[in-house]
């Protein structure tokens, strides 16, 4: 065994750089694990900022500072007086921008992508460690640029995260030329970080897999991140082009989106959503991949239909590029075209359903361990299904026209983004935190956090379907200003209290997270008895990850193999020559 392993030691790309020490390790490390942890901490900090903005908005919606009371008194006694409509607009714009570009994408792709890809494919680091670290600092810079908008004349961008022209492209309309420009520049820089990460991941996964790690032995997490990297690579630059046009229109008098001079406001929508829809899958595919792995580990069963899962993700990625028009059904689009976009959108339900049924198939008959990670992964599946169903409603043009720009949409994308992606992130943090920091998170606190989050999440976002169907528009600072919404105001206040509960429940998570860094139980190499390569090395793994490049003998999901003494077989365990259980499969291939 040792002689075999020794022949496959690659010295070409591991240990290409020395490990820095002291503070340098956390500022300018080229180690993918440190970079992943940098992404994790930074995006959790941005999560607090984005969540704080959400709570301010919710308070304004429940107790609007602009409300005129029935008695004729102006103002609401417990309103926050500093929230005026312009600031409210800036809040929802920046809440979405921060959550999309600074929280969900960096958590899924920056933190877990960086941390897990090299470990799971059995290599020492990413293909381009320097570009990896540059990508992190570009991401930090993009956050600073975006949030700087709050401190310039006119305030932060307030035209929604979709920044539809001409509201965004004419300074006289949006009232904050500088804020809107910083918003666009921040996302441009963020896009550079994404592109750097994307080609780094693709190069790493294609070229640096350990011997024996064929594409169809990759854990689904790696497959999902691989497909996501292609979406980033091809969708983000189109947004960059649109952002450049927006910055030029705002500051240099070009006319791309100016209809008076032959420009087209709709061009912005096409370019934005050409990026924007793949972006939706950029934010859910990695969550699907990681949730698949978590479900398999804690059901002690192989992922049901592994190849179907892979091809479903590829199909989702490809279809994601031809459905962007479903965001634009009310833009005056040709009805034949909108029918085409509607059909192509509904087709995405097929691979999504394949994934959902395969998750259920993975659970079916499994020996399910209800760890905190598993609970979050189960919540991911359930919430994703709810968000997915409301997505199918909207794909149908007539329904879409009715619910367009209402809270029904807000409910939908929070079910997929929070209910989907963030629950998957929690599941992943509980699963891989022991690997990252060498200590376990507290399970009791974790379960309380999960229960509170799950309950408050649904109390907060489910009623948004109802107020949306009741006609409540997105992006309004004061629902009480509209007669048809006044009867919905108690629901709005209920949502606000649920949101506050949801927000404060996260403090439990942060407490657990930071407390366990020092006080958690030591994790050991493989606390979950999982099969993939990251669990073969110490927690946390040393610089360079693997002392000897591992050789892979099997797929990532050999759980509960009949006849095997343990209920899991590591990917780098060779078949014993006299093992009866796994032998037939090998010989069946030959004979």
């Amino acid at each position: 065994m040792s002689t075999l392993a020794a022949t496959h030691v690659h010295e070409t790309h591991s240990h290409a750089h020395e490990e820095p020490t002291g503070w340098k390790k956390y500022i300018w490390s080229l180690d993918h694990k440190i970079i992943g942890i940098q992404y994790l901490f930074t995006s959790l900090a941005f999560l607090l900022i984005g969540g704080g903005m959400a709570l301010l908005m919710r308070w304004q919606l429940a107790y609007p500072s602009t409300q005129v009371m029935a008695s004729g008194d102006v103002g609401n006694p417990i309103a926050l007086p500093f929230i005026n409509p312009q600031f409210y607009n800036a809040l929802f714009t920046m809440h979405a921008t921060v959550m999309v570009f600074l929280v969900v994408m960096p958590l899924l792709i920056g933190a877990f992508g960086n941390y897990l890809i090299p470990l799971k494919i059995g290599t020492g680091d990413m293909a381009f460690p320097l570009i990896n670290e540059l990508s992190y600092w570009f991401y930090v810079a993009s956050g600073v640029i975006m949030l700087a908008g709050f401190f310039v004349a006119g305030g932060a961008a307030a035209g929604g995260w979709t920044a539809y022209a001409p509201l965004s492209s004419v300074a006289a309309y949006n009232g904050t030329k500088m804020g809107q420009t910083l918003w666009a520049a921040g996302i441009f820089v963020n896009g550079l970080a994404s592109i750097m990460g994307a080609f780094n991941y693709i190069t790493t996964i294609v070229n640096m897999r350990a011997p024996g790690m064929g594409f169809f032995r990759l854990p689904l997490t790696v497959w999902a991140l691989f497909i996501t990297a292609f979406l980033l690579l091809l969708a983000v630059p189109v947004l960059s082009a649109a952002l450049a046009m927006l910055i030029l229109d705002l500051n240099f008098g070009t006319n791309f989106f100016n209809p008076a001079q032959g420009g087209q406001p709709l061009l912005w929508q096409h370019l934005f959503w050409f990026f924007g829809h793949p972006e939706v899958y950029i934010m859910i595919l990695p969550a699907m991949g990681m949730a698949s792995d978590v479900l398999s580990i804690f059901s002690r069963k192989p992922v049901f239909g592994y190849k179907a899962m892979v091809f479903a993700m590829i199909a989702i990625g490809l279809l994601g590029f031809i459905v962007w028009g479903h965001h634009m059904f009310v833009s005056g689009m040709n009805l034949v075209l909108s029918a085409a976009f509607g059909v192509s959108t509904m087709v995405i339900a097929v691979p999504s359903a394949i994934k959902t049924f395969n998750w259920l198939g993975t659970l079916w008959g499994g020996s399910i361990h209800f760890t905190t990670a598993m609970l979050n992964a189960l919540a991911f599946v359930a919430m994703f299904v709810i968000g997915g169903f409301s997505g199918i409603f909207m794909a149908s043009t007539p329904v879409n026209i009715f619910v367009h720009h209402t809270y029904f949409i807000v409910a939908h994308f929070h079910y997929v983004l929070f209910g989907g992606s963030i629950f998957a992130v929690f599941a992943s943090i509980y699963t891989w935190y022991p690997k990252m920091f060498g200590r376990m998170l507290d399970e009791t606190l974790g379960k309380i956090h999960f229960a509170l989050t799950f309950v408050f999440f649904n109390l907060c976002f489910f009623p948004m379907h109802n107020v949306g169907l009741g006609g409540m528009m997105r992006r309004i600072a004061d629902p009480t200003a509209y007669e048809h919404l006044r009867s919905l105001q108690p629901i709005n206040q209920f949502i606000t209290f649920a949101a506050i509960g949801l927000g404060f429940s996260q403090l439990l998570f942060f407490w657990n997270f930071f407390r366990s860094l020092k006080n958690g139980k030591p994790a050991g190499k493989n606390p979950w008895h999982a099969t993939t390569l990251e669990w073969t090395v110490a927690s946390p793994p040393g610089h360079g990850n693997f002392a000897v490049t591992p050789t892979v003998y099997r797929g990532a999901y050999d759980y509960s193999v009949p006849g095997h003494p343990r209920d899991y077989i590591m990917q780098n365990e060779p078949d014993a020559p006299d093992a009866p259980a796994t032998k037939p499969r090998t010989t069946a291939l030959v004979g």
Binding site: M1, L4, F128, L233, L234, L248, Q264, L271
Partner: protein, 217 residues
């Protein structure tokens, strides 16, 4: 234990045959796919905007004529020559790389590429100033000016970044030449030159598309 117990689907990288692409080259090619999408976004936007102008209103009345005419105008000849110069710079770069792989320095090839690249950028700057003098700028003649200056500007920025890399390659080949003169072995790593080459050829390829839609069609 030997590798025959491994399943048939299993394959080890064969150590004798080197990989077709080294990691940096592979990464550069993937990155260029992203760059291609950037220009695809710009060109797609241009096509949409221009088709919507309707027949007969392109270029807008009174705007300076940049499209190729028969017989060609002075400006046409200048831009045709500039295009030929940029495309030749790909050839000279390739020649420099070929010399370098055969053990030479490639200094003349890289030097010519740097000169051609500089001429291209200089002529672009002259064209911009000329058109500005004629009253055409980012904010005039509707989207005619916007599209022209944004697209040639993005491309010019890419040429500029490529040119910086080419100057670096010239410096490296100069060092190589000095080592050759003094009988030493030059730096055997060609990765920088190869990556710069991919990028430069890509930028040239983009120019063929931009020239076609901005000047010819």
């Amino acid at each position: 234990m030997n590798s025959t117990t491994l399943p048939a689907s299993h394959s080890f990288p064969t150590p004798s045959a080197g990989p077709r692409f080294t990691l940096p080259k592979f990464g550069m090619l993937v990155f260029l796919a992203s760059e291609a999408m950037l220009f695809a976004g710009l060109i797609g936007g241009y096509i949409v905007l221009r088709i919507a102008q309707g027949p007969g209103s392109w270029p807008p009345p009174g705007a300076p004529e940049i499209g190729v005419k028969l017989p060609p105008t002075f400006l046409n000849w200048v831009m045709i020559a500039n295009t030929v110069i940029l495309l030749s710079s790909s050839v000279t770069y390739h020649w420099g790389e070929a010399r370098m792989r055969k053990g030479g320095s490639g200094l003349i090839g890289y030097g010519l590429t740097a000169i051609f690249g500089t001429i291209f950028l200089g002529v672009q700057a002259w064209e911009w100033l000329h058109l500005k003098h004629e009253g055409m700028w980012f904010n005039t003649y509707g989207i005619y000016g916007s599209c022209f200056f944004t697209m040639t500007g993005f491309h010019g920025l890419h040429v500029f970044l490529g040119l910086l890399c080419i100057l670096m390659a010239v410096g490296r080949s100069g060092l190589r030449q000095m080592k050759l003169f003094s009988g030493q072995t030059p730096n055997p790593s060609h990765t920088f030159e190869e990556l710069t080459g991919y990028y430069w050829h890509f930028v040239d390829l983009v120019w063929i598309f931009l020239y076609s839609i901005l000047y010819v069609l």
